[in-house]
């Protein structure tokens, strides 16, 4: 998907419009109102790896972990799902830089990743097992579960209390998934995530222009006005 160049005026206009709408309605800024007022939903970038079930699962995870609020749009509007899809379809998903020769042993956590699965294979088996667990426990796949159940499942999953019946080790998959959500939120927009540099703006990271020799003193202990640019903006 061509990187939609950041259109400041459009962003400002929509921001102004949304705040005006909130004011006129006079209601507290409930999540739904915010969602509606937030920037129009970004057109889908399509999927090169995830099938419909998997895409729904990933969208639900990234939108739950990175909800929409005044700091940033929700995860899928920032393209974190697209980032994960492209990573899995690409070399990293196929096991680039991963030693994949047997024999295969479980080992202990301090010996790191030992599964005979490439990241793409782990996601495929992992999402199927996660959804199977959710259907067994909450009688619905993850993306159909209400927010409270999603949170309950994610907390259990991240703390090793979830076991995938004849699936991959649950926690190994969670650790990889969580790292990819973070990467999707803060890597350069080139990779499909961090669209409009929303992740960088949230924390004030100035992006690729980094000639700070003079700024060190000029901005010591002062807020640096970051209007981040990505690699594409300078290419």
């Amino acid at each position: 998907m061509k990187n939609v160049p950041f259109n400041r005026r459009a962003f400002l206009k929509s921001a102004v419009a949304s705040s005006a709408a909130a004011v006129s309605v006079g209601l507290p800024q409930s999540a739904q109102a915010q969602q509606k007022a937030a920037a129009p939903p970004t057109p889908s970038a399509g999927y090169a790896f995830l099938n419909p079930d998997e895409a729904a699962f990933i969208e639900a995870v990234v939108d739950h972990m990175v909800p929409a609020d005044e700091l940033s749009p929700k995860g899928s509007d920032m393209g974190i799902n697209t980032f994960i899809d492209r990573a899995l379809a690409g070399g990293w998903g196929k096991g680039d830089r991963l030693y994949m020769q047997g024999p295969w042993k479980q080992g202990v956590p301090s010996q790191g990743y030992q599964l005979p699965l490439t990241p793409a294979e782990l996601y495929r088996a992992g999402i199927a097992s996660a959804n199977a667990y959710c259907v067994k426990t909450y009688s619905k796949p993850f993306d159909k579960m209400p927010e409270t159940q999603r949170q309950e499942f994610l907390v259990a999953w991240s703390t090793g209390k979830v076991n995938f019946e004849n699936g991959p080790p649950a926690r190994v998959f969670f650790t990889m998934l969580y790292q990819n959500v973070i990467e999707g939120m803060f890597s350069d927009p080139l990779y499909g995530g961090n669209q409009n540099k929303a992740g960088w703006k949230m924390i004030g990271f100035p992006g690729v222009i980094a000639v700070n020799q003079q700024n060190i003193e000029k901005y010591r202990d002062k807020k640096f006005p970051a209007n981040p640019l990505g690699i594409a903006d300078m290419s």
Binding site: I209, V211, N212, Q213, Q214, L229, D233, M234, S235
Partner: protein, 123 residues
Amino acid sequence: MTTRKVFFAAALAVIAHAASAQGDPKRGEKVFEECRACHAIEKGSNGVGPSLHGVIGRRAAELDDFRYSPAFKRANITWTRQNLDAFLADPQKLVPANRMPYAGMPEAKDRADVIEYMQRILK
């Protein structure tokens, strides 16, 4: 604004301009050290940055044997002394999103001296 005042302001501008013209090339060579890591002064030898040979009065992104960033190609400016001075003061301001990894020379005196040096040496 009475004409006198106007005349007086214009004169000031000229002098200021002239002053900057008399930068000290000797000191300018020393200041130019900042640039030598990436720019050569010999014709045709490009490194991280393009060769600065004959840069004064040249249009930006003119050498065809150097891969300029789009920012310079879009800039369509000529390296007059004035543009050079503005650029060296704050490179990202004059040519936003350019790739030069150099924060600039805040001191006007440094800029005047180095431009004077470049004027002489980079024929």
